[in-house]
C-alpha cells in the first residue's frame, strides 16, 4: 500500500504544470463554494443573537401596522411577563445614502433592560435618558462613520418626514461578536411628540412591544396569554419569540437562499469536471503502463487504489491550499474582502460546518474522478492496451 502511495505521488509529479493547475482549479472552486455557504450562513447570523424567552408583540395584520401605546400597561400585567419595552422602527436616511446602513429604533428606556447582552456605560445611559434628542449608537456604527459622543447626527425621515437631529450621548458594545451593532437608539417620547404636533401619523402608537418572560414560565404560554388579552380588539396582536420573528424575516428571502444553494452545487460540478478531465488525461497517457502493470501481476484493486490515491492527493492539496487562503482572508477586515457586499453582512464568520462541507466535497470529487478512469483500466485488455498509442 505504501508503495502504491509512493507511485501515486510520483505520478502526480510527472506533469507538474497540470497537477498544479488542477490543484489551483480545485482551490478556486472550493473557495467559491465556501464563499456562497458563508454568505448563506451570514443571513442566519441574526438568529444566533436572539433569545427564546424574549417575545415580540406586533400587530397581527402585519408589521407595518402599529399598536396603541395603551397596551403597555396591559402587557406588563400579564402573568409571566417580567419586563417589557416598546419601540418604533424609525427608518431615517443619513446624508445622501440610498439606504440606511444602520438601523434606528425609537424606544423607551426600559427597552434597554431587555438586552443584557448590550454593554452600556451607566453614566452614558443616564445622559441619554435626560436628553430627549439624545441617541445611543453601536460601536460598529460609530467606527464606520467616525461618530463620537457629542456629535450631532442628522437624519432625513422616510416614515416620519422632516429633518431630525440627534446628539450622540453614548456608544455601546455587544458581548457577542455576532451581534450587529450598526444600531442607533432614539427616544420614542421625542418621536411621538413631534409626530403628534407636526406629522400626525398615528401618534401614541408603537411599532412593537418586547417582552422578557419570567423564568419558570413557558414563553409560548405567555405569548398566547398576551394574544388572548387583545383578541377581538381593534388591534389584535401576534406574539412570537424573538427567534421565530427573526427567522420569519429570513424566510422572506427563501427563494434567494434556495438559488444560492443550487449555485453552490454547480460549483462542485465545475470542480468535478476539471478534476475528471485531468484524471482521464493522465489515464490515457499511461494506458500502456497500466497494461504492463497488469501483466506484471498488479490486480484491479491495486490500480484502483493507485488512481484513487492520485485523485485524493490532488484534491486534498487543493483543500490544503484553500485552508491557507481562508486563514488569511478571514483575518482581514470584511470590507477588504467583499467590498460593497460587506455592507449586507457585517459579521461574516467561517463555520466548522462550511469547512466540513468543503472537505466532504473534496473527498466526493476525488472518489468520482478517480473511479471513472479506474473503471476503464480494470476493463482494459492487456494485449490491446499494449498496442495502444496515446
Amino acid at each position: 500500500m505504501q508503495e502504491i502511495l509512493r507511485l501515486a505521488i510520483r505520478n502526480c509529479l510527472r506533469h507538474r504544470l497540470r497537477t498544479m493547475l488542477t490543484i489551483l482549479g480545485i482551490t478556486v472552486a472550493m473557495a467559491g463554494f465556501v464563499f456562497i455557504r458563508t454568505f448563506i450562513e451570514a443571513w442566519y447570523a441574526g438568529v444566533k443573537t436572539t433569545a427564546k424567552n424574549r417575545l415580540v408583540v406586533r400587530n397581527a395584520v402585519s408589521l407595518i401596522f402599529p399598536l396603541p401605546i395603551s397596551y403597555f400597561n396591559t402587557i406588563t400585567q400579564v402573568a409571566g411577563v417580567e419586563k417589557a419595552g416598546y419601540g418604533n422602527w424609525f427608518g431615517g436616511i443619513y446624508k445622501d445614502e440610498q439606504y440606511s446602513s444602520f438601523q434606528q429604533f425609537a424606544i423607551n428606556s426600559s427597552y434597554l433592560d431587555l438586552y443584557p447582552e448590550l454593554i452600556i456605560n451607566p453614566l452614558e445611559r443616564l445622559a441619554w435618558e435626560s436628553n430627549r434628542q439624545g441617541a445611543l449608537i453601536g460601536r460598529q456604527m460609530a467606527a464606520e462613520y467616525g461618530f463620537k459622543v457629542g456629535d450631532i447626527i442628522q437624519l432625513k425621515g422616510t416614515i416620519f418626514p422632516g429633518l431630525w437631529e440627534f446628539e450622540v450621548q453614548g456608544i455601546f458594545a455587544a458581548k457577542s461578536a455576532d451581534y450587529d451593532t450598526r444600531l442607533m437608539f432614539l427616544h420614542w417620547d421625542y418621536l411621538n411628540e413631534r409626530n403628534r404636533t407636526e406629522i400626525n401619523r398615528q401618534p401614541d402608537h408603537v411599532g412593537f412591544y418586547m417582552v422578557k418572560v419570567q423564568d419558570g414560565f413557558s414563553p409560548a404560554e405567555v405569548a398566547k396569554a398576551i394574544d388572548e388579552r387583545f383578541a377581538n380588539s381593534y388591534a389584535e396582536t401576534l406574539t412570537e419569540s424573538e427567534t421565530v420573528f427573526v427567522q420569519g424575516f429570513i424566510s422572506m428571502l427563501a427563494t434567494i437562499i434556495t438559488a444560492l444553494n443550487i449555485i453552490s452545487i454547480v460549483v462542485i460540478l465545475i470542480m468535478l469536471l476539471v478534476m475528471t478531465n485531468t484524471m482521464l488525461m493522465s489515464m490515457r497517457e499511461r494506458y500502456v503502463e497500466y497494461a504492463i502493470m497488469k501483466s506484471l501481476g498488479f490486480e484491479a484493486r491495486h490500480l484502483y487504489a493507485l488512481l484513487l490515491s492520485e485523485a485524493l492527493l490532488i484534491s486534498l492539496s487543493g483543500f490544503g491550499l484553500l485552508s491557507v487562503i481562508m486563514a488569511i482572508a478571514f483575518s482581514l477586515p470584511p470590507q477588504a474582502l467583499l467590498g460593497d457586499l460587506a455592507k449586507f453582512f457585517p459579521n461574516i464568520t467561517l463555520t466548522p460546518f462550511t469547512v466540513g462541507a468543503a472537505f466532504c466535497a473534496a473527498l466526493v470529487v476525488a472518489a468520482i474522478s478517480g473511479s471513472l478512469p479506474a473503471y476503464h483500466i480494470t476493463k482494459l485488455r492487456v494485449t490491446e492496451a499494449l498496442r495502444y498509442i496515446a
Partner: protein, 388 residues
Amino acid sequence: MSLAVSYNARYLITRKATTLLTLSGIALVVLVYVATLMLAEGLRQTLAGTGSVENAIVLQNGAQSEIQSGVTRAATNIILAEAEVARRPNNEPISSTDCVVVVSLKKSVDHKPTHATIRGISKHGLEIRPAVKIVSGRLFQPGSKEVIVGKAIHKRLTNAQIGSYIKLAGTEWPVIGVFDAGPTGFSSEIWGDVNVLMSSFKRDQFSSITFRLKDRADFAAMKRRLEKDPRLKVELKRENEFYESQSQGLADFIKLLGTVISVIFSLGAIIGALITMYSAVLQRTREIGILRALGFRAGSIFCAFSAECLLMALAGGVLGVTAAVLLSFVTINTVNFQTFAEISFAFRITPRIALQGLMFSLIMGFLGGALPAWRAAKVKIVEAIRTL
C-alpha cells in the same frame, strides 16, 4: 491558415471526452452568469412595466415606498385641482387615490405566512392603468367589502380564489374577481375600494396619488412647483420611474452577487481550459513541428490554437445560454425588501444578455487558450520533430 484552423477544430472532435468536460465547465459558468442577469432583468422589467410614462405619482416627501407614505386629503384636493392633471369631459380628474398596506397572509403550498400588498383604488383607478384587465369574475362594487386578486398570486395564497374569503382588518372579504396586469408588480397585489379599505384599516391619509398628465412635458415644471409648496410636503415622480426604483435594491443585490460568483467560477473554468489546452499542445508537439517545417508561421500556429480554445469556449457559451433560455419558463417569488411584500417575476432573456453570456465564454476561452497557444507557437522545429 484555414488548414491549421480546421486541423485544430477536428482535434476537438477526436478528443471528445476532454472537449466535452471542458466546455461543460464553461457552459455551467455561463449558465450561472446569464441566469443572474436574466433574474435582475426580469425584476426590472416587472417593476418598470408597473407604471406608465403618461402618469405621475405623488408621495409624502422623503418616503421611499408607498407603505411609508402618507398624503393628506387636503393636499390631495389641492394637487388634483392643478391644471396639468388630465380630465374627463365631466371635469373629473383622471386619477387614483390609493391606500397601500401590507398584510400577512398564508401561502397555499405550506401555509406559511407571506406578505401581500393590498391596494385600495378609487373610481378611475382602472382607467389610468389600462393594462389591467379582469380575467375572471367581476370588479368590486364601489363602497362594498369585496376584493379582486392579481393573477400572479391568486393561486399562491390560501383563500385567494374566487368564492373564498380573505380576512382583512378583522372581517372576511369575498374574492369576486381575478385581474391580470401582465408582467407587472400589480399582478402580485390584491385590490379593493379605497374608501372601504381606509375606513377598515383606520387610515385617514392616502398612500399615493396617481394621475394622468395632460402633457408629459408638463411634468418637470409641475414637480418643481408642487415640491416647493409648504402646504403639501410631497414628492412627484413619473410613475414608471418610481416603480422601477422600487426594485433597485433587490436588482442591484442580485447583479452584484451574481457577478462576484460568476467571476470566481470563471477562474475554475479558465483553469480547466488551460489544463486541456496545455495537454493538447504537449501531445501534438511533433505535429506542430511538422506544420512549422511545412512553412506555417509561429503566428498562424498561435492563432490556430487560440481559435481551438475559443471554438470550444463558444460551444460552451452557446450551451450555457441555451440552458439559461429554458429558465424563461420559471417564475420566481420573493419578498422585495423595499416594498416589504412578495413579488412574482420571471427570468427574462434579452439579446444583450445573450450576447454578454457569449462574450463571457469567449473571454474565458481566450484566457484559457492564449498561454498554451503561445507555447505551441514557440515550439522548436527540429526538437519537436524528434519527439515521440
